[in-house]
Symmetry: C2
Subunit: 245 residues, 2 copies
DNA sequence: CTTGCCGCTAATGTATACAAATATGTGGTA
DNA sequence: TACCACATATTTGTATACATTAGCGGCAAG
């Protein structure tokens, strides 16, 4: 039997990357904070070499930004966050259009329909805890249907920013009734998306994916307003600067 | 007076990155070739540390791929190349739609109209040497009009693969007359794009950008067929695997 | 009091030595 | 003859020492 995968995500670089990423998205540093390598390496319990690999990666992910030697935590305006979600919609729209244009057999849609079915049950029983997880699975399966690793990778790239991910604001909402409405509408989008793909309606599928992303836009707008007015806590917004503009 | 920019692209890492990138896109290695760090560092005249930084960056650019520790030169199928161009069209389409929706003043369109004018003159005088450069400038100005660094960066990402760039096949064509037709049609697209943006016709602008990318698709298809049939040389295709599929 | 230069300090950039792990080849055994 | 285990060599992962440079504060001159 083959041994387990070599250092299965368990190297200094990987550990540092995960830990550093989670600290950044949790708002551990203010935007534009310069990260010094030596103290950071100490704090993460590794040496500068794997740390720099992690920093390089996080720059590519868009969480860090070079500034004259060294890195600073990137700041995102509210408009940036909206645009990131818009871009996700565009990318997912492209993926589902391609999926529709492939004229998939009905067999290939069984797994994603199963996911949809599970979300249906979730909503019926009104236990919304697992929604985020299932929703992520749905979106993952969705862009897999495009049939090309290329587009899938790019969609995943677009989802990487914490406020841009499909399920970024799928929980911890103050306004429960508005939240339920969002879920119901979103789930209708899911049904319609798969239907459009199964019928080869590429343009409709693309438009639906974009509109689906707009639900997230509304969510983030509500969260942003709540944070400003009620000083609510939204971990997903930790990276988004508070001032308007 | 301020000193020149700190290490203005002149560090071991930068040099190695440039040199390595150019070797890869030139087809210096076959696809799936494993790059060994020590001999590669020697060959580039630097040590392993900056080399690894460059390798990491090239992985993010999509030219390299991790494989069980170490990197291999990524292989691209012909379909990958087509899809990369399609994605560029999608991204540029999003940028120009946003530009149109911003309702720009006519003043803001002066620079790009100047570029268009220069291309017009180029085509009239039938000196197509500088076309690639001007075309790149046009596309750069185009996605700048979206007014957000975010979208601009993503478009530039989509252009990074050598066969996906706007001017990838804007020269060295065998069939001169077909090439001229392509340029004329492409330039008409340019005119129409700026007109659509100036009129706030977002949907039209987006569709035009996608269709514009399809010109590149045709170009790469011709080049691919020529390579197979006439054994022509197309440096931009060095990364694209020769077998069909 | 302002401004420009100089030197210091602290940071990143680089090289290299060492550790760990994987792949390979060889020998033995069933 | 095929297959498994073990040893070895090659390669990547990590740490650290050193070089280099940018930022900064103080000092002197205008």
């Amino acid at each position: 039997m083959r041994r387990a995968q070599a250092t299965p995500g368990d190297s200094q670089t990987e550990r540092g990357l995960r830990e550093l990423r989670s600290r950044i998205v949790a708002g551990h540093w203010l935007a534009n904070t310069k990260l010094r390598e030596v103290p950071l390496a100490e704090s993460l319990g590794l040496s500068r070499t794997p740390l720099r690999a992690a920093l390089l990666q996080l720059e590519q992910e868009g969480l860090l930004q070079r500034q004259g030697g060294g890195y600073i935590v990137r700041s995102f305006s509210f408009e940036d966050a909206l645009l990131a979600i818009e871009l996700r919609g565009v990318m997912e729209g492209t993926a589902v259009r391609m999926a529709a244009e492939r004229r998939l057999g009905s067999k290939q849609l069984v797994p994603i329909q199963e996911t949809i079915h599970q979300i249906d049950e979730l909503l019926r029983d009104d236990c919304v805890d697992q929604y985020g997880e299932l929703n992520n699975r749905f979106h993952d399966q969705l862009c897999s249907l495009a049939g090309n690793t290329f587009i899938k990778q790019e969609v995943e790239r677009a989802n990487r920013l914490p406020f841009a991910a499909p399920s970024a604001f799928s929980s911890s909402e103050d306004d429960l009734s508005r939240f339920r409405t969002t879920l119901i509408v979103g789930q209708q989008h899911h049904h319609a998306l798969v239907q459009a793909i199964s019928r080869g309606e590429g343009s409709r599928a693309e438009a639906l994916a974009r509109e689906h992303a707009h639900l997230s836009k509304t969510n983030i707008e509500v969260a942003y307003r709540d944070r400003a007015e009620k000083h609510g806590e939204f971990p997903q917004l930790a990276l988004v600067s508070a001032q308007v503009g």
